[in-house]
Symmetry: C2
Subunit: 450 residues, 2 copies
């Protein structure tokens, strides 16, 4: 594995010549990792060993805090050169993280062309296609021949983010078609571009949310996707490497939100303060929900003290019911997240969940009856029948809530992951306990069992 | 959006000519979706309208049950033609799903070359690089010039999965370097391949797990990754579109396993039977765990009946502690999943979690004291102090378990997601309840409070 190679080959900081050779030969991401783990003071030294091209590539892979540190410790000329050569999308990301003062200074020193490009990208809202696109792409006029197109591409900067596709526009910059570079290889130079370009252009708008961008690229197996403005004019492209990151981010968000981490974007090694800020809201949420629930349970305190086996049964009840709910909730939210289901499938999904739920209810209800029979002292054994019945009911309520809540949110165009696991389990606890305790106290009253 | 276009443009099945035109012009994935939603009998009719090239492309996008149906209803000649032209990796996937009898019949009718390729891929274990790779790639000898390479590429089948990269091998088929097609465009025809090829080859072995494949491609922003055998000979490549699917699958697995869905691969609209099979194991697991826990709690039944407010406090306890544990567990498992942390970071992560945990413990402990003061009748108010203290302790236990359990599993080279949410919450319940009830009953005994 290359990752290993790096770590071993650049340990010796004393031998600068060898280090220079290694750093310029290795993959930018590996060099970035190496520089990041160096002590703060040595980072600029190592970075200065990179040649111009490698310096820009490596810089794009550094974490924001190291980028900022280098911007402050390198010469202005070098900084501007790097920032000028960065891909527009990576530059926009950098500017997002830097202090406003530094951004203003850097913007002034950029070429007018790059300054405008950066301002445009930063003008789109976060999380949209406009914000993650790059403006480095190959654009061709419809009327060109393959030969003319090739020499145009050769004249352009070799650094275009992707030249595997070229985008064909009309006189008003409107996107007409896409041509794959591989088609050039199989075509004679005097063929017109318009004759080999396909008419099936998949594109997104600048305001398309990034999740939708990811879904479109995944669906059509694309490695680059053109972005157009409201007038259908080509303004940028999104490349697959950014989409891979988006897919991973979105999954992390879903998974963390389900666990009750607000925002769903806690870095594993974030500062403890960030962790507190992300996790406390749902913890207090659970407590608050429970206060509501407890006011429903409180009146039953005497029931519980009359039938002590309840104290053993109720937590089992709560754990199992909660798990059933979270299973259904998770499968639904993830299904919505990857586009396996849409709100249109609500009934179909509910039918499946309830069918499986009936089986689960039967299995859990019977087990509950057996367990309570074993646990309860002889005079409390009648409880087991009620426990089993309520366990079964609670299971059906659990799958229904777990399926419907996210579907309804999605239909209302809200984030389905707003329903987190803790919300569902607490709701289920409250519903289950109230049904259970009501039945028990009714039985106590009706049959004078105690 | 194109997806919309399809659905609208191919509604009228009566006009076969128009339909034929549409189906051959649209994106294969859209046509696949259209055919899938047709009534079973009409699928073969629509499919026969596709030209040879489109038929193969569309076939690759059909779900396995529709593929099998078409294999049974189309003419053998047509089926063999489609299967012969499929990418080797998609064909291997298809054969995985089909009944053994059908596979044998199809294998016999394939060309010897394709038969061998398929057998090779199917020979690698599921979930490894060898199984997801394709054998369609461009291989060049070191000694060729750019011009010779280009005419070799032009002579080959236009259908190679990716010709954006070509792989350079020595006389023993050993992978030496990679050359990007874009480099060809900027180089004179008489330059030797070996002079423009980079020496930084990122590659994986046939036995590399697919998660590792995804991590490598993501790290190096690759659109294709070469796969070598034990003797370092090139045997295939993996393309980014397959990796996008792998990343999504792995995230779904993590998220579902955490929720207690065994295997983590339940399709949202699976059959209810599959759902039962995936979800019941953890539900019974929770019950079994709880039986263990209950034997620890059971002796305290008299304590609970002596202090009825416990019945209200304990579920709050359990809900909140469980949520704290799941938050830490989820962040750790996801961090391991995307490679943000490794077992080496265990201490660093534990330090962060415990620091944040202290803050959480303080906040939750104090809230717990306040709530129990409000809920408890005057003679039971002393319980609140114990409840607050145990809530704080339980919080620290929760973050410790949530962080350490997956880290230890990962270090033992097991799947960290084996620790699912239900396991952690049930453990926390047992630990918290036992500490809590022991303290309460000790206090009762020592101070003769009742």
């Amino acid at each position: 594995m290359l990752v290993q190679d790096v770590r071993n080959s650049v340990i010796d900081v004393a031998d600068l010549n060898q280090l220079k050779w290694d750093l310029n030969r290795l993959q930018p991401v590996d060099v970035g990792e190496y520089i990041t783990q160096l002590p703060s003071k040595q980072r600029a030294i190592a970075f200065r060993l990179l040649n111009k091209h490698q310096a820009t590539d490596v810089f794009e892979y550094l974490p924001p805090e190291v980028q900022e540190e280098l911007i402050n410790s390198l010469h202005d000329v070098q900084v501007v050169q790097i920032v000028e050569n960065m891909s527009p999308d990576d530059r926009a990301e950098l500017f997002d993280e830097l202090p406003a003062k530094v951004v203003r200074r850097l913007l002034q020193q950029l070429s007018p062309e790059q300054r405008q490009v950066t301002a445009t990208i930063l003008g789109y809202p976060e999380g949209t296609a406009g914000r993650v696109m790059t403006t480095e792409y190959v654009r061709l006029r419809e009327g060109l021949t393959v030969g003319e197109a090739l020499s145009k591409i050769r004249r352009q900067d070799e650094d275009k983010e992707t030249i595997y596709y070229a985008y064909v526009t009309d006189d008003n910059r409107k996107l007409v078609s896409v041509v794959s570079l591989r088609q050039f290889l199989f075509t004679f130079p005097d063929v017109l571009i318009r004759d080999i370009a396909g008419d099936r252009v998949v594109k997104v708008k600048t305001e398309t949310p990034q999740e939708e961008v990811a879904r479109v690229m995944k669906r059509y197996d694309l490695i680059a996707l053109p972005v157009v403005d409201r007038e259908d004019r080509l303004v940028g492209i999104i490349t697959i490497d950014d989409v891979v990151d988006i897919i991973e981010e979105e999954a992390t968000e879903d998974i963390q939100k389900l666990a009750g981490v607000s925002g769903g974007d806690e870095a594993t090694l974030s500062s403890p303060l960030v962790t507190l800020k992300k996790r406390l809201p749902w913890l207090f949420g659970v407590m608050l929900l429970y206060i509501g629930a407890s006011s429903a349970i409180a009146p039953f305190q005497s029931t519980i003290s009359m039938v002590p086996v309840l104290a053993v049964i109720m937590p089992l009840f709560s754990n199992t019911g909660g798990t059933v709910g979270i299973q259904a909730l998770t499968v639904t939210i993830r299904g919505l997240g990857v586009g396996e289901v849409t709100p249109k499938d609500t009934l179909k999904l509910l039918r499946k969940e309830l069918t499986a739920g009936l089986g689960t209810a039967l299995a859990l209800g019977l087990t509950m009856i057996c367990l309570s029979l074993i646990w309860a002292p002889p005079e409390e054994r009648w409880v087991s029948l009620i426990a089993g019945t309520v366990m079964a009911i609670n299971t059906l309520v659990a799958v229904t809530l777990g399926t419907l809540l996210p579907m309804v949110l999605k239909r209302l165009k809200l984030d389905p992951a707003l329903v987190s696991g803790p919300l569902v389990t607490t709701m289920l606890d409250a519903i289950g306990f109230v049904i259970f305790l009501t039945l028990i106290s009714t039985a106590l009253r009706l049959f004078h069992l105690k």
